[in-house]
């Protein structure tokens, strides 16, 4: 039985999960503007806990106000939030599922900034090149404060009875903005050499470790290959797998319990989530983000107008590599370099591919976002012997491109008997009401 490896428990230093499938960070604007959690988010997470994943990595969870990516995600930025997270954790635990909070800071990559701060903090004062999100170069004092925010947030996660934290060092958020040779232009001890660029992340890991002690699970997510030039060809390539393998070794030394491998210098990125660039959805929703950056007119034309958007779509979808398992070569390289478990994301939804990767030592577990949005019960389907679910995720990325305006859910109509059935599935996250 090819799926057997999937159902072997995975033992981290401080945590054991019942199988090798984690729900990866995937989020909707389900909560209050100010970051207060709601029943809707509990409903969302329970879909996956019930569906049998070993652990859930929470949606993107801000450690402070300025670091928020978009309003409407529950934060863990103050002690008042602890009861919500405790409640969420208890409900998830009822299904023998672990819950890891993803601690995040957007830096300059704020898709829809909250009203509180005009500019995001970053390694640089240059705006993000795609949208033009404005940035303010963080001072050393700012960095100290952000480290403290991560440490306090981790302490809250522990107090809330959750099972661990993941420091979001991937996908273009603040730590990528420091790690990346294509973004970081600092002249101080946080810029220049790889060691310097990694310093902020490593210090944060140590600060978090200091706050939660040695017996609490701390994992780090990192984009091992950045491909910073994948879309805008005039940018530098950014960090390579060799750079990142070194960073992973340092992360292990700094006290990380696991590495979570992703890719891409931004989010979204042609590599992550790899798949279709859904023009019809972009036309309807990209406008929300226009004023978040300074490249409004260029992007108005590029995202909305034919043929500019066709050119953009081609460029976005240009790499012909298979979507599923796209990051496996990277995770294999990381695994060879570290002794802690390695989790990898990227289009997984086929049992044999996952089990094979684990068996040959390319990873210890996989994390899944889109595949689980489409089939919440994917793990249960594997258990029943399905290699692929009957209606697999098509990597159309419509879930992603709807999320700013509409509830998170699967928006690929072809996967449903009718549009009504699809909408019912999308709206089901609001049941039960608070």
């Amino acid at each position: 039985m090819s799926a057997e490896a999937i159902f072997q428990p995975l033992r981290f230093r401080n945590l054991e999960i019942k199988n090798r499938v984690l729900r990866s960070n995937v989020a909707g604007r389900l909560d209050d503007y100010d970051g207060g959690g709601t029943q809707t988010r509990i409903n969302w997470e329970l879909k996956f806990a019930r569906g049998g994943v070993g652990a859930i990595v929470s949606s993107w969870t801000a450690v402070d106000e300025r670091g928020k990516i978009v309003p409407g995600f529950a934060g863990i930025e103050r002690d008042e939030r602890i009861p919500f997270w405790r409640e969420l954790g208890e409900r998830v635990h009822e299904h023998d599922c672990k819950f890891i909070v993803q601690l995040a800071h957007a830096g300059r990559q704020r898709d829809v900034p909250t009203v509180t701060f005009a500019k995001g903090l970053s390694s640089t004062d240059k705006p993000d090149p795609l949208h033009g999100f404005e940035a303010e170069r963080a001072t050393t004092a700012d960095l100290e404060e952000i480290k403290r925010s991560f440490a306090s947030a981790a302490r809250r996660a522990r107090e809330a009875g959750l099972d661990g934290v993941e420091i979001h060092g991937a996908n273009g958020y603040i730590f990528t903005q420091f790690l990346s040779s294509a973004i970081n232009d600092r002249q101080d001890s946080y810029g220049g050499t790889l060691e310097n660029r990694a310093r902020f992340l490593l210090e944060t890991v140590r600060a978090v470790r200091g706050a939660v002690g040695h017996d609490f699970h701390v994992q780090v997510k990192i984009s091992t290959t950045e491909h910073a030039d994948a879309f805008l060809p005039w940018l530098g390539k950014g960090n390579t797998i060799d750079d990142s393998v070194q960073v992973c070794r340092w992360l292990e030394e700094a006290g990380a319990d696991a590495i979570h491998v992703s890719s891409g210098s931004t989010f979204p990125h042609p590599e992550n989530p790899a798949g279709e660039f859904s023009l019809e959805d972009m036309v309807r929703t990209y406008d929300v983000m226009l004023s978040s950056g300074v490249h409004t007119f260029r992007n108005y034309l590029m995202f909305r107008l034919w043929p500019a958007n066709q050119v953009m779509k081609r460029r976005w979808e240009r790499d012909p590599a298979e979507v599923p398992g796209r990051c496996l070569p990277d995770s294999e390289a990381v695994k060879r370099a570290v002794a802690i478990p390695v989790i990898v994301t990227g289009g997984f939804q086929q049992a044999s591919l996952i089990a094979g990767a684990i068996e040959r030592g390319a990873c210890d577990a996989v994390s899944i976002a889109r595949g689980l949005v489409a089939n919440n019960d994917l793990v249960e389907l594997f258990r029943q012997g399905h290699d692929l679910p009957p209606r697999p995720c098509t990597y159309c990325n419509k879930c992603l491109y709807n999320v700013l305006e509409h509830p998170i859910g699967c928006y690929d109509e072809s996967r449903f008997a009718s549009r009504e059935e699809m909408i019912e599935q999308v709206m089901s996250v609001y049941t039960p009401a608070a």
């Binding site: 100010d34 709601t38 309003p71 919500f84 608070a434």
Partner: protein, 438 residues
């Protein structure tokens, strides 16, 4: 004068100041209500307004203006409204639910329907929101939806309902000679265009019985030509007054006078066109309509946005914002015997008292000045003629609400930006972590 009770049919309002329909995107996308909305409305109940008219409550998801407002579209919504009403009543404040069907005026449409229902197939002219002319069956269905929603309000022990018949909402789209292009019994002469609104009032009255307060909000001056110069004016004053007479006959207990055949409109909320704010928020609405490129330029790009701002504020050159609709409410009062309340920038006790004494109106409704000063009525009680930091009619509240919590965003009114932001976010205070739902 301000502190005398006012009878709206069977409902006694404790003074002459009503909070007008105003609120933010505080609720869930699916239309379920949240504690945030309760917080919002309690703010005004506590501070002594005579009654609260709710934020727009959609009677059907297709008729929602924007996601994030609590609906009254099914019996499942009744417990939320009952809870809200109970909490507001603790402060002795009556609560009137405003029933809305936006028709084509959907600034951020839900997933389900590509086009809004309307009297016409013509898109809304300012943004280009798409429309689909209603069949006779659909008209009857929507009339019934209004009646069912009113029955739910009554079951939830709320104190009355108000039909959102003004400001470009679906009943305006039928009533307006500048919008309605039908050739059937619901289009053409005024009598036909009025039919939809009047049927709604009669159906509601039938559903709730004689002992329940039913109001109707109407834009007396539609002035579509003040939105865009190539549009027709819309209904004449005489036509609007005739509609008011008919509404009284159909069983309305009060009329609520507003202005504008669309929303927003230079006369409502009258005031500034905050270009800097609009640059940050209009983009969200671009794809809701078809005039995306024109409006990208008009609302985002200098000098076009400045020119539009000049155009937008032109009707105010010879009019005060405060009391902008008093001439119209006086005209309405002369043709009906039911009470008339009027909206439009009120925040000065002497202006309000004089208007009531002169018989221009029986009461006023206030949105923006109460957003700025929720305790405005307390200030009046203490003898102040105006709040120390009055509303400036900058309209930044309005042009922020699509993306940010509804609040006063006029930094000049606060000691610091931090204080302003604290105020803006205070509506979320004390919203408890959800407890286990049965």
């Amino acid at each position: 004068m301000i502190f005398e009770p006012l009878e709206l049919g069977v409902l006694t309002v404790r003074n002459r100041i009503l909070r007008s329909s105003v609120g933010g995107r505080f609720d869930n996308y699916d239309g379920s209500g949240t504690p945030v909305r309760i917080n919002w409305d309690l703010r005004f109940a506590r501070s002594g307004v005579g009654a609260i008219i709710s934020s727009n409550a959609p009677i059907h998801p297709r008729g929602a203006i924007v996601p994030g407002y609590a609906h009254i579209d099914s019996d499942d919504t009744i417990p939320f409204w009952r809870e809200l009403g109970t909490r507001v009543h603790e402060h002795g404040c009556p609560y009137i639910l405003q029933l809305v069907h936006a028709g084509r005026e959907r600034i951020l449409p839900f997933l389900q329907w590509e086009k809004g229902l309307s009297s016409t197939n013509e898109a809304e002219p300012l943004n280009g929101f798409p429309a689909q002319a209603m069949t006779l069956a659909e008209i009857q269905e929507v009339v019934e939806m209004f009646a069912a929603a009113a029955r739910r309000a009554q079951e939830a022990s709320l104190d009355g309902v108000e039909v959102a018949g003004a400001n470009g909402m679906l009943p305006t789209q039928f009533l307006s000679s500048g919008i309605n292009d039908r050739r059937d019994a619901y289009g053409g002469p005024l009598e036909n265009r009025a039919r939809f609104g009047l049927e709604i009032v009669r159906a509601i009255r039938k559903a709730v019985g004689p002992d329940y307060c039913v109001g109707y909000k109407i834009s007396i001056q539609e002035r579509l030509d003040e939105l865009l110069p190539w549009l027709p004016k819309g209904n004449t004053l005489e036509e609007s007054l005739q509609m008011c007479r008919w509404l009284e006959e159909a069983g309305a207990d009060y009329l609520h006078v507003s202005a504008g055949g669309g929303f927003p409109h230079p006369r409502n909320p009258a005031g500034e066109f905050p270009a800097a704010q609009i640059v940050k928020t209009y983009d969200t609405m671009l794809s809701s309509g078809k005039h995306t490129f024109r409006n990208y330029l008009t609302f985002r790009t200098p000098p076009f946005n400045r020119a539009f701002g000049w155009w937008w504020t032109r009707p105010l050159r010879d009019r005060e914002v405060e009391g902008i609709n008093l001439g119209e409410s006086r005209a309405v009062k002369q043709v009906v015997s039911i009470p008339v309340v009027v909206t439009g920038g009120f925040q000065t006790a002497s202006v309000i008292a004089r208007a009531i004494e002169r018989g221009d109106c029986d009461g006023v409704t206030i949105a923006r000045p109460l957003v700025a000063n929720p305790d405005l009525v307390r200030h009046f009680e203490q003898g102040l003629d105006r709040a120390p930091r009055p509303c400036t009619y900058c309209n930044k509240c309005l042009f922020s609400f699509v993306e940010h919590p509804l609040a006063c965003y006029e930094e000049a009114r606060f000691d610091s930006r931090e204080e302003m932001l604290r105020e803006a976010l205070s509506v979320y205070e004390g919203v408890e972590a959800p407890s286990e739902a049965a």
